[in-house]
């Protein structure tokens, strides 16, 4: 693709660390994160922020892992805001003390996305493998006390889809502006635990109906985003709005990624900000150019009228499920491998409680035993 035709990155995601106090089995971090402990320094992050802003990025997310585990988070927030970014903190809330909240407010942090694992203490604490429900509830009150715009994020799967009504009630009680009900995406740890997390179609339909009832009742009081699980669709998602089109992720060690999961793809050397400028990375690197445009596509994407709408779906999912990243994402009904996705969904309907291996929690010990692909 001609560099002049490449749009600038708009969304910079700074994954400050893979360290995290929680152990969620649907985490999208790499399953082998424990083997990579290098983290960029404060100065290196400052440099990344400045370069990205110069390229045109306007949204800045601080994520992880748990970004609060970085002592320099406040400095990074301040610099991001000073540069003109809209600054988003994406957090579990663990470590979000009142002094830190107050300091980040002064420095201009624009918004906080707080994750809960469920509306009940039991399920929240089971899924995160920590006793954190009460702490998170206190943090939610503090965030509102400091008048931050707030998104409550809850990842959905078979263990909590039936609680959607109570989750929405919790969001209303907290006074959040947005509720993101994000059905699990099967990457990283989510893919490892797919058989355990996959809901039934009935669960999903019931939850969607509940969401629609609430929307009709509460109007714009809380805006509810319901992220549909793509395995249940017959067209793929327009993943990242196209490879190298909007999103620029920087992993803790400085690796630049066109999506969070890209490092699962074999044979691509993802450039590191310690060796290359962001301009070189975004416009000239082989990795970011690899799936731009449509020259790389195979049948059926190549000849598909919808190829400019969904870009053939997700490359990481195509690789994980078909062994070839250039295939159509098999959630697409036009993919010859779509039957395998249907079979996964079907197995979820028929699941018997025994015969499915236990959930693999995201822990350092489990991570060290994982290869790059997660099995």
């Amino acid at each position: 693709m001609d560099a002049a035709a490449i749009p600038p990155p708009l969304w910079l995601l700074a994954e400050l660390t893979y360290r995290c106090p929680l152990h969620c089995p649907f985490c999208y971090n790499p399953v082998d994160y424990a083997n990579e402990r290098t983290e960029l320094s404060t100065e290196q992050w400052f440099d990344v922020l400045r370069q990205a802003r110069q390229l045109g990025a306007a949204q800045l997310g601080f994520s992880g892992g748990e970004p609060l585990l970085r002592d320099d988070l406040e400095e990074l927030v301040g610099e991001g805001r000073r540069l003109g970014f809209y600054t988003n903190l994406i957090t579990s809330g663990i470590g979000l003390t009142e002094p830190r909240l107050a300091r980040m407010k002064e420095l201009g942090l624009d918004h906080i996305q707080l994750s809960f694992q469920d509306s009940t203490r039991e399920m929240n604490d089971f899924l995160s493998s920590t006793k954190t429900f009460d702490l998170k509830a206190r943090v939610a009150r503090l965030i509102k006390q400091y008048d931050y715009p707030m998104v409550l994020n809850v990842v959905l799967h078979r263990f909590n889809l039936d609680h959607v009504d109570r989750i929405i009630d919790m969001a209303l009680e907290m006074g959040v502006e947005y509720l993101e009900l994000a059905n699990t995406q099967y990457y990283g740890w989510g893919l490892v635990n797919r058989a355990q997390l996959m809901p039934t179609r009935e669960q999903l339909l019931r939850a969607e109906a509940v969401v629609n009832e609430y929307r009709a009742r509460i109007g714009n009081k809380v805006r509810i985003l319901f992220v549909v699980p793509d395995y249940f669709e017959d067209r793929p998602k327009a993943c990242m709005n196209g490879w190298g089109s909007v999103f620029l992720g920087i992993a803790p060690d400085g690796t630049a990624l066109p999506c969070h999961a890209a490092r699962t793809l074999p044979g691509i050397a993802f450039p590191n900000v310690r060796a290359f400028s962001l301009r070189e990375i975004w416009y000239a690197s082989g990795a970011f150019n690899r799936y731009r445009g449509d020259a790389w596509m195979k049948s059926p994407c190549r000849d598909c009228a919808e190829k400019n709408k969904d870009f053939g779906g997700c490359r990481c999912q195509a690789y994980a499920l078909t062994g070839d990243a250039e295939n159509a994402d098999p959630v697409c009904g036009k993919s010859e491998r779509h039957g395998e996705v249907l079979a996964v969904v079907m197995r979820a309907q028929q699941r018997v409680e025994d015969g499915v291996r236990p959930i693999v929690f995201r822990t350092d010990a489990n991570s060290r035993g994982m290869g790059n692909g997660g099995v």
Binding site: P8, G56, G61, H111, Q113, E177, N220
Partner: protein, 88 residues
Amino acid sequence: MQTAIPDKPALSRLFRMQWEEAQNNYVLLYPEGMVKLNGSAAEILKRCDGQHSVPAIVEELEQAFQTAGLQADVDDFLRAASERGWFA
């Protein structure tokens, strides 16, 4: 659901409007999202400061751009913006 236009519209605190040099246009930034604004949308929103009434916004725009009959366009835009939750 029909959302009423506030008497003196002001941007909700969820949104920040700013000029983006790289895009050569104004944008509205909000939690994890961005809307690119065309020229007329930006001119209207600049005046949504909680001080201007809707007729005052129309009058100012008509003067600034030496034109008349903007009322309907401004109303349409403000209604759509209200429905998207842009106003406090």
